[in-house]
């Protein structure tokens, strides 16, 4: 790399996320030096003390790349998404939550009222006799205190602003991040806008080392602890639900290599598909029972169906949420 080349400006932001994605950026370990050699980190709340107002003052489009992790759950998330979109040349939805809604998106199976009631009134560890709930505005002697507005819906980033690229994963595979980053730095040919980057184009099974046959008929489902996995045969063929067939390659088979079935964090295979629905449809096709009662029996062993199939993708799926 030429020394004279100007450093690119990089921002990392977290919205409704667990923090894991930000940590995964640090997971680049010594590669971080390479990153820092070619990039200036202009905004990264987890690591740098740079205020929102500093970002507001930046010129539009002055940040080269923003890695935006986390979903949009409240007005602050939304505001920052819009602000960073305005300030950034390339906005990357980084990680499952930003890409699809992620784990926080499972909250779409309830709504704001239900969540607040549970958290501020019913929760076993809460004592809140006056049933006080967070208010967007709170008058105190010193003036007005503001809190972000909590929405009914959790949304993926692209429901709020235009997204240039998606880097899937919970969290994304760090090697992939470095590859993508270096591609941006070196100006290598980037895929068309709206693409998923740092991931394969087919499903996990393509590269999964487990042995697959045509015998996919399922008579009984097992949770991983209920059965001794032989370590060789495709999970599905052992009756263990694996989201691999509906999940994009790219994670390096973290779960499967660790003898746990894929949970689906890398999201759908092609842009238009809805992995939860696809997987339910696929599973219904291979259940080895004919009579309604027998089918019901097979299905009984699937615990938390909605959470299993839509673990990372509910807000971006066709059903999107529970009806309000």
């Amino acid at each position: 790399m030429e020394k004279t080349k100007p450093k690119i400006k990089l921002a990392v932001y977290w919205a409704a996320a667990c923090g894991g994605c930000c940590v995964s950026v640090l997971d680049v370990h010594e590669k971080l030096f390479e990153v820092v050699a070619s990039a200036d980190l202009v905004f990264w709340p987890i690591a740098l003390d740079i205020k929102y107002s500093d970002v507001e003052e930046m010129a539009d489009g002055s940040i080269d790349v923003t890695l935006f992790n986390g979903a949009i759950r409240n007005s602050e998330n939304e505001h920052m998404a819009k602000l960073l979109r305005q300030k950034s040349r390339i906005l990357v939805a980084y990680g499952s939550c930003s890409h699809l809604g992620g784990i926080p998106g499972l909250a779409n199976f309830s709504n704001k009222e239900e969540i607040f009631k549970r958290v501020y009134e019913e929760c076993e560890s809460t004592v809140n006799r006056d049933k006080i709930r967070p208010q967007p505005e709170n008058k105190v002697p010193e003036g007005i205190l503001e809190l972000p507005v909590f929405y009914n819906d959790v949304r993926p980033l692209d429901r709020v602003v235009e997204v240039d690229y998606y880097l899937p994963g919970c969290p994304p595979q760090t090697e992939r991040l470095v590859e993508v980053f270096m591609a941006i730095v070196t100006g290598a040919h980037l895929p068309h806008k709206g693409s998923v980057i740092g991931a394969g184009s087919k499903a996990q099974c393509e590269e999964c080392a487990r042995k697959k046959t045509e015998n996919k008929q399922i008579k009984k489902f097992y949770r991983p602890w209920e059965i001794i996995d032989d370590g060789i045969t495709c999970f599905m063929e052992q009756g263990i639900l694996c989201m691999g067939p509906a999940t994009r390659l790219g994670c390096g088979h973290r779960c499967i290599a660790g003898n746990a079935p894929c949970r689906g964090c890398y999201g759908p295979v092609s842009d238009d598909s809805d992995p939860g629905t696809k997987m339910m449809s696929a599973i219904s096709s291979i259940i080895d029972a004919k009579e309604p009662d027998d089918i019901e029996k097979v299905l009984e062993d699937l615990v938390d169906t909605a959470g299993t199939f839509y673990r990372f993708s509910l807000p971006s799926s066709m059903i999107r949420r529970k009806m309000i």
């Binding site: 184009s201 393509e206 045509e214 996919k216 599905m236 295979v269 238009d272 449809s281």
Partner: protein, 582 residues
């Protein structure tokens, strides 16, 4: 996509549609939709002027998509597709909205029905925008055929095909041709010798070079699709010398003529078959007749012979159906026994006399004149057989609750002939799986339409003939065998086969080889390529049922003409109107 120009036609079907649906209101509502160039209402769209109007408009207004809101696509989709072809545009750029069967015929509120018609038409318009031009495939038809089973059916089919100049592989599991007919002496009702009927055919089969006869053989594998099947024929010559041979052949069509087996009479315990030495089956009597001596186990000429009908047939516990040949065969026996021994007394114990075929009623009349005692029994009130006492001048006694007289009658018998019915062979399920056809609950192979397609099956290129379909006599068996051959000859003479353009496809760039789909296709159209590690659909075998499309977790399988986007567009079209109506 090219500039979309849609023509929409709303049919009134005389008054069938117009009496409930306001066609003008439908026209008004859809004419403002994007890309709709022209909307017409018309009395009879399927009439010649209706079709001509579409053709004319396509040319005049450069229309490239057509929607007809009329009857069920089952009724006239072909008609309108043909009109598109005639006008020079791809026939799949067409969609029908069913506003008759699904609307005017089932609703009586004109306002609601009109709203629904609008919804259906709008849905069709939004769908047709996304239609693709599709081309049908054309595949070669291999002129060689495979006939499984060398009974009268199989031999007839093989000869018919061979006489037209085509090669045939005839596979028979026994060491001789003829099937069950080879066990029969004279045939009802004209008393031709079965041997004569068979010998001529067997001789011809053996002399025709392009009939490849495989005796002691079975077909062990059938792959491919109509026009392009591959079969493995496994031949075992002699059970002990271990002389085995596996032949692989290429064929275009298959006729299954695997016939029937006789009902096992020992299943009806109180007839005593297997215990009472002189209770025999019809086939055992045939054997005696062929050998020229009808006698009891003890070597005596039977004075009293009784024939019992419907053994295993037309009963609650065994088979509900009629085996169709036993009544006439029984009459034939009466005749044959009488001619062998004029002094014998014959009683014929039946439920109903089924004499439906040509010449059968006449045959019945003649037999009645020949002093046969006819006794009628009630369907589920079978005659009872017991050993006679020392004072009786006969071996056994049969007690019959005679239906016509209402009396219980006891008749003597030295020899009792059980008219065993026909049933599906024990390996029929194996054969059905091999050639991918279905069986009914009794095990008979199922035709693709019981009235109009009696020898075709739901698998293209697989035909069925003779008694493997259902019990029948020789003339019906032969007629079916010839019909199957005729169907095949028609296909061969066309040379190529058209495969409908609507089939499913696997996108190899998306298929991960998860193999979810591999066993799901009801038509065995999905193959797994071990080398490339992905699945693919054999277009010629796919019937576009959509099962695999729904099953593929990667969305790698697309149903042509039924893509997600087309179906969603249709649903959106429906929903918009529902919304608007609220």
């Amino acid at each position: 996509m090219e500039n979309c120009r849609i023509g929409v036609y709303i049919c009134m079907c005389g008054t069938n549609i117009a009496k409930i649906i306001d066609a003008e209101a439908v026209k008004k509502s859809v004419s403002k939709l994007p890309h709709v160039e022209l909307v017409e209402t018309y009395k009879y769209m399927c009439s010649n002027p209706g079709q001509e109007m579409i053709i004319h408009h396509i040319k005049e207004h450069k229309l490239n998509r057509i929607v007809v809101a009329a009857c069920s696509p089952n009724m006239h989709e072909r008609t309108f597709r043909a009109a598109l072809r005639k006008a020079g545009i791809n026939q799949y750029l067409f969609e029908m909205a069913n506003i008759r069967e699904q609307c005017s015929w089932v609703h009586d509120d004109p306002k609601d029905a009109t709203e629904k018609a609008i919804a259906l038409t709008r849905a069709a318009i939004q769908r047709v925008e996304l239609h693709d031009s599709l081309e049908s495939l054309s595949v070669e038809m291999c002129p060689t055929s495979l006939v499984i089973g060398g009974g009268i059916a199989g031999m007839t089919a093989a000869l018919e095909l061979a006489d037209a100049g085509h090669s045939v592989y005839l596979v028979e599991k026994n060491n001789h041709l003829g099937g069950n007919l080879a066990r029969v002496d004279l045939t009802a009702p004209y008393l031709y010798s079965a041997r004569d009927l068979l010998t001529e055919r067997i001789t011809r089969i053996k002399t025709i070079d392009h009939i490849h006869l495989h005796l002691n053989s079975k077909v062990t594998e059938l792959t491919g699709f109509v026009g392009n099947f591959r079969a493995k024929i496994y031949e075992q010559n002699g059970k002990t010398d271990g002389n085995e041979k596996l032949t692989e052949v290429k064929i275009g069509n298959v006729v299954v003529c695997t016939g029937y087996k006789e009902f096992d009479a020992s299943r009806i315990t109180h007839y005593g078959y297997g215990k009472l030495p002189n209770v025999i089956t019809s086939f055992e009597l045939e054997k005696m007749i062929r050998e020229g001596k009808i006698e009891t186990k003890e070597g005596k000429i039977p004075k009293y012979v009784a024939i019992i009908h419907c053994v295993g047939s037309r009963s609650l516990e065994f088979h509900g159906y009629c085996s169709r040949v036993c009544c006439m065969t029984a009459l034939k026996y009466a005749h044959e026994i009488k001619s062998a021994n004029a002094k014998s007394y014959i009683s014929d114990i039946y439920i109903d006399m089924h004499a439906f075929g040509k010449g059968h009623e006449d045959f019945y009349r003649r037999s009645s004149e020949a002093k046969t005692l006819f006794l009628m029994y009630e369907k589920n009130d079978r005659p009872v057989i017991r050993r006679a006492g020392p004072k009786d001048d006969c071996e056994m006694l049969i007690e019959v609750n005679e239906k016509l007289s209402g009396e219980t009658i006891e008749i003597p018998a030295d020899l009792i002939v059980l008219m065993v019915g026909m049933e599906a062979r024990e390996d029929s399920a194996e054969v059905a799986r091999l050639v991918n056809i279905s069986q009914d609950k009794e095990g008979w192979f199922i035709e693709s339409h019981p009235k109009l397609e009696p020898v075709a099956t739901t698998t293209d290129g697989i035909f069925i003939a003779g008694t493997c379909v259902a019990p029948k006599d020789i003339p019906d068996t032969v007629a079916q065998a010839r019909a199957a051959a005729a169907r095949i000859l028609a296909k061969i003479s066309k040379g190529k086969i058209e495969v409908d353009a609507i089939y499913s496809e696997v996108d190899p760039d998306l298929c991960s080889g998860c193999r979810f789909c591999n066993k799901l296709c009801p038509f065995s159209a999905i193959e797994f390529d071990e080398k490339e590690v992905h699945s693919h659909v054999i277009a010629a075998m796919c019937k576009a049922c959509g099962v695999c499309v729904a099953a593929c977790p990667s969305s790698a399988i697309k149903g042509r003409h039924f893509t997600d986007s087309q179906v969603f567009a249709q649903i959106d079209g429906l929903m918009e109107v529902v919304h608007f109506a609220e």
